[in-house]
């Protein structure tokens, strides 16, 4: 063992990384599938619990490695031509890039496809008409977080439509309070919080078919319908007094503390916060979901069941071997996440997932929201070409918050579309 004594003054901590790996202790001739993903620590163990039944049934050995810098690491592995058998992508934009480079195994028309339960699932993993990926774990995005006790005390009602929600916004303002919590600083990914808002509004105002065309690039950002969506968002963020801290805070406060004024101030600094289900991880430890804090689905047009915007982790294969396909087929089955759901912190995108498998009420509720939704759509910015979806769409949202000029922002975003060959590094906003 080499020991090196270095004076503390000469050392500078340049970063920390967390990785997790697991492997069974059987160095025999069982087929091995190497899986690379973003889950570490507790999540890695839970993922291992999810694929344990597959290993038992098939005798295939899953060797999982999880990293805290997935996006960077997977792109470096591509540079080194050192591909895992399967990768779990928290950013599907990367799947599109790899698919365009012909690095992924097409999965269309085989057992993987038939195991999937819904069009939304298939669409999430489809690039250019070919299915490449299996949607394994879901995040529900169209949620508004609120404090039930505050609503009870002040006589507020859960809004049934977008108009009701704007009425509630005015009602809260009249009571001398600030209706909305919102902030979106997220390092290089600042702006993604705003893209979720625009996607939710487009989906609500113009329906899923129009949304799909827009995501595929057939409808431009400069289309009047998209400009409308920006201006609908503007009715919340650009009306003074509707967002806690105003546009300055929206741009500069980390998104993870957007909701803090709801808990830290008395009366609450803001009463409504639209954010995905992973907001659960940002809540103060003393806050109990379902009791102190709850969610309602971001409402849509009056009389229409609100569509659900979702995202999550997708699995794609780099190597075509029978055991690799068998693993992806397994991930596409409704049983795939049961081992994880039993530990908590998992929502299945599969319509036939057994709700009894969920161990927490919140997980079960999210699962039911997805299963009961008439329309589910995958996060559009994740599916758009990377120079837009993880590029100008983000920066354009910053411009729009700053200036309030929807047309200028739309033009800026649309300018990202030319045939880009350069692939930018994609940070993971959720982590």
């Amino acid at each position: 063992m080499r020991r090196r004594r270095v004076s503390a003054l000469t050392l500078l901590t340049v970063g920390a990384v967390l990785v997790a790996a697991c492997s069974s202790a059987a160095p025999d001739d069982r087929p091995v599938v190497e899986v690379f993903g973003p889950y570490r620590g507790e999540d890695a163990s839970r993922f291992a619990a999810a694929f344990a039944p597959f290993e038992e049934q098939t005798g295939i050995d899953i060797r999982y490695v999880g990293t805290g810098s997935f996006s960077k690491d997977i792109q470096n592995r591509m540079t080194d031509a050192d591909y895992p058998d399967v990768a779990l992508f928290p950013q599907p934009a990367l799947i599109r890039d790899f698919a365009h480079r012909d690095l992924l195994v097409p999965l269309s028309d085989d057992a993987v496809g038939t195991n999937m339960g819904s069009d939304a699932e298939v669409a999430a993993g489809t690039v250019g008409g070919t299915v490449y990926a299996v949607w394994f774990r879901a995040v529900v995005k169209s949620l508004v977080w609120y404090e039930p006790e505050v609503f009870r005390d002040r006589g507020y009602e859960i809004p049934g439509s977008w108009d009701d929600m704007m009425f509630l916004t005015e009602q809260i303002e009249e009571d001398g309070l600030t209706p909305w919590c919102l902030s979106m600083e997220s390092f290089a990914a600042t702006g993604w919080v705003g893209t979720d808002w625009i996607e939710d509004i487009v989906l609500r105002q113009h329906g899923p078919e129009f949304y799909d065309q827009w995501v595929q690039g057939d409808v431009t950002f400069e289309d009047e319908a998209i400009i409308d969506a920006f201006e609908t968002f503007g009715e919340i963020i650009h009306q003074p007094g509707r967002v806690f801290g105003g546009t300055h805070r929206i741009l500069n406060e980390p998104w993870t503390s957007a909701q803090a004024p709801m808990f830290n101030l008395e009366p609450p600094g803001c009463l409504l916060y639209r954010q995905a289900s992973y907001q659960e991880a940002n809540l103060p430890s003393s806050v109990v979901v379902g009791d102190d804090i709850d969610v309602f689905i971001l409402p849509g047009k009056d009389g229409i069941e609100p569509p659900i915007l979702a995202s999550g982790d997708l699995a794609a294969a780099f190597n075509d071997r029978p055991e690799v396909r068998a693993f992806l087929e397994f991930l596409a089955t409704p049983e795939a996440g049961e081992g994880w759901a039993a530990e908590g912190g998992f929502t299945s995108p599969h319509p036939e997932f057994d709700p009894d498998a969920y161990v927490t009420d919140f997980d079960r509720r999210l699962g039911e929201i997805l299963q009961n939704a008439a329309v589910v759509r995958f996060d559009g910015s994740d599916l758009m070409v990377p120079p837009v979806g993880t590029g100008t769409f983000w920066t354009g949202m910053q411009s729009y918050v700053r200036t309030g000029d929807a047309r200028a922002a739309a033009a800026e975003i649309q300018a990202g579309f030319p045939e880009a060959t350069h692939f930018p590094e994609v940070p993971i906003p959720e982590s």
Binding site: T13, G15, C22, T67
Partner: protein, 359 residues
């Protein structure tokens, strides 16, 4: 060996007609000459009689509570010096030596009395430790106990060795006039109160497993002290021959449960020792893996804990380059070699190029 008044003369000189080995053994065994009065003085200290018992119990309770309080504060504050101070105040050694003496003298009433006192003292100390942690636990949590606390929660066979030797020393000090000044050393070598305080503190923080570990350390010390002190008393002549002869028939029977308890306790201690050795071996393997992973990286600090098929490693590596191999490759090489689940946490430190370093 000279016969004293109360020792029946065996009629032969003990060292006569012996082989050299027997002669040496005889000299080692050569006992001090105890008069009945001297014995009574020592036994009076160990077993206070009617009028002295109340003050004795008061003193015992007071010192027990105070020493545990000092120990618990010292443990929470992570101060070794304070914990040692607590050991010197602790009064538990007396009833333990008394228990050993009552075993040798085959005195059932005194045996039960001493045992009761030890049990009450033990429970009182755990309660005191719990209370101190409740009041002054501060920012500690089950996951972040101070090193002084953690050190007392994983006893190994080494601790058994220490306890046996200290028990022998304790018996020796008691039975050899003039060795009394060594008693504080014995108390420090085989701490009784700090493990008990640790049990209480760990319970308050909900660290049940750690509390059980500390309780195991205490039990190890208790059994080893009683057993080895008994043996010294028997061998040294503190126990008079007439008692030895009357009680000899039952001696084995009386010591048997303690011997069995000692044997039983070596099982968890052996497992603990194995775990410690495995952790050390694992750290060596991880260190080797880091060298193979990237020769540019040198380990500044490493903390590895392996239990069964799960391991947690957190390390700080220093490097002069910004271009190390990705961490996942290290994680993969370790898991591939050991067939385990691993959580690896690496902190990187940049070493400036002019850093003086020794290899």
């Amino acid at each position: 060996m000279e016969p004293t008044d109360d020792q029946p003369d065996r009629g032969t000189h003990p060292l006569a007609d012996m082989t050299p080995i027997e002669s040496i053994w005889g000299r080692i065994r050569q006992r001090e000459i105890w008069t009945d009065e001297e014995r009574e003085t020592v036994l009076d200290e160990l077993f206070p009689d009617d009028e002295k018992i109340i003050p004795y119990l008061k003193r015992f309770a007071t010192l027990m509570i105070l020493s545990t309080t000092i120990a618990a504060f010292g443990l929470i504050a992570d101060s070794a010096a304070v914990v040692i101070g607590a050991m010197l105040v602790a009064p538990l050694m007396t009833p333990m030596l008394a228990l050993a003496a009552s075993l040798m003298y085959a005195q059932r009433k005194r045996f039960l009395g001493s045992l009761t006192l030890i049990i009450l003292g033990t429970l009182g100390a755990i309660a005191t430790g719990w209370l101190v942690a409740k009041v002054a636990g501060g920012t500690l949590t089950a996951a972040s106990l101070s090193p002084e606390l953690v050190a007392r929660t994983a006893p190994s066979l080494l601790d058994l060795g220490i306890a046996v030797a200290a028990g022998l020393a304790g018996g020796y000090v008691l039975t050899h006039k003039g060795a009394g000044s060594s008693l504080p050393g014995v108390a420090i070598a085989v701490a009784l109160v700090p493990p008990l305080a640790t049990v209480g503190v760990a319970l308050e923080f909900g660290a049940t497993e750690r509390a059980l570990g500390a309780l195991l350390l205490y039990t190890t010390n208790l059994i080893a002290i009683v057993l080895s002190a008994s043996i010294v008393m028997f061998v040294s002549g503190f126990v008079p021959d007439y008692v030895r002869q009357i009680a000899r028939g039952h001696l084995g029977l009386r010591l048997l449960p303690w011997g069995l308890a000692l044997l039983a306790i070596t099982v968890p201690l052996g497992l603990h020792t194995k775990a410690v050795l495995e952790d050390e071996a694992f750290v060596r393997n991880v260190t080797d893996a880091v060298e193979k992973w990237d020769p540019q990286a040198s380990i500044v600090e490493i903390d590895a804990d392996r239990s069964g098929s799960r391991a947690t490693v957190s390390m700080t590596v220093a490097t002069t380059t910004s271009d190390l191999q990705p961490a996942w490759k290290l994680a993969q090489s370790i898991t591939d070699e050991h067939g385990i689940e691993l959580d690896l946490d690496i902190r990187y430190q940049r070493e400036s190029t002019d850093a003086s370093s020794t290899s």
